[in-house]
Symmetry: C2
Subunit: 157 residues, 2 copies
DNA sequence: TCGACTTGGTTGTCGCTGCAACTAAGTTAG
DNA sequence: CTAACTTAGTTGCAGCGACAACCAAGTCGA
C-alpha cells in the first residue's frame, strides 16, 4: 500500500471506531437510547401505521433477527413499542411504536441531528459531502450486496 | 438535512456498521484474530524491541486500559505476547510480541491487506482515495481531538 | 394430504467491552 | 518525611451482540 492508500484506509478505520461510540454516548445521555434503538424507533416512526414486521425491521436496521428480538423485548418492557401478531402470517410479529415511544423518539431526534451536524456535516463542504456520499455508496454496495440497509432514517437523521 | 447531507450521513453510518464486522470475519476465519487483536499485534510488531508500554499501546489502538488489559491477558494465554515489568516505572507493564505472535501476525497481514484491497482500496480511484483521506482526517480530528489514534498499522495495513 | 423443506421468530449461552472500584507506585506540597 | 493527589494497571460485574439450537407456521412436491 502506498502513502495515499494507507492514509485513506487508516482514516476510514478511525471513523468506524470513533463514530459509533460518539453517537451512542450522545443518545444515551440525552435520551437513554442506544443508536441502534434510535434507528429502530425512527424506522417505526416513518412506517405506515408506525408498524413494521420484525423481519423487515431487521433488514432496515441492518441487524440480525436475534439481535432485533432482544432489543424489541427490552423496548417493549420500557413501553416504547408493542408486539402484535401479524394477521396474514401467523409466524410473523409486527412491531408497533407506542405513543410513549413516539414522544421519546421525536424528542431525541432534534438533539441527535444537532450532534451529527456539529460532528460531521458542518465540517465538510458541499464537494466533500458529495464525495463522501459517492464513496460511501460504492463501499456499502461492496460490503452489503443485498443493499437492504439504511432506507430508513431519511427524514429523521 | 437536505438530500446531499442525508445521503452522505447515511452512507457513513452504513460504513461504520458494515466494515468492522467484515474485518473481524476475515481475520477470524483466516487467522483466529479479531481486528482489534490484529491491531495490537501489528503495533507491537513495528515497535522497537517489539515492546510497547500498556498505556501507549492502549492509546495507539484507540482503546481503554481495561479493554487492553483483558485482551493482553488473553493474548498472553495464547502465547502471542509477554508481559514484562517496566524497569524505569514499577507501576507500568511492557507488552512484548513473542516469536509465535510475530509469526502469527506476519502470516495474517497478507490476507488482511488483500481483503482490504478487494473491499475498499481497489474500488476507489485516486481522486476518491485522496478525498476519503482528507475527509477522514477532518472527521477523526473532530471525533478524537487528542488525535492519539492510528499511527500504527502503517506498513502493515 | 403428508412428509420434507423453508421461513419467521425466540431463547440460551458465550465472549467481548464499558464502567466502577480497587491496588500499587510515583509525585508533590508543606 | 508524609499526607494528598495523580497515574498505571487489574479485576469484577453488567449489558449487548453473535451464534446455534430450537419451535412454530407456511410451502411445495409426489
Amino acid at each position: 500500500m502506498d502513502e495515499l492508500e494507507s492514509a485513506a484506509w487508516l482514516s476510514l478505520v478511525g471513523l468506524t471506531e470513533l463514530l459509533p461510540p460518539s453517537l451512542d454516548a450522545q443518545l444515551q445521555t440525552d435520551a437513554q437510547l442506544t443508536h441502534f434503538e434510535f434507528q429502530v424507533l425512527s424506522t417505526l416512526r416513518f412506517a405506515p401505521e408506525q408498524t413494521v414486521q420484525s423481519k423487515d425491521l431487521a433488514a432496515s436496521t441492518n441487524s440480525t433477527l436475534p439481535r432485533l428480538s432482544h432489543v424489541v423485548t427490552r423496548l417493549e418492557q420500557r413501553g416504547l413499542v408493542r408486539k402484535l401478531p401479524c394477521p396474514t402470517d401467523r409466524r410473523a410479529t409486527n412491531v408497533q411504536l407506542s405513543d410513549d415511544g413516539r414522544r421519546i423518539v421525536i424528542r431525541a431526534t432534534g438533539g441527535h441531528i444537532d450532534h451529527v451536524r456539529r460532528l460531521v456535516i458542518d465540517r465538510l463542504d458541499r464537494d466533500e459531502l458529495a464525495a463522501l456520499a459517492k464513496i460511501g455508496t460504492t463501499l456499502n454496495r461492496a460490503l452489503d450486496p443485498s443493499d437492504r440497509f439504511a432506507r430508513h432514517i431519511r427524514d429523521a437523521d
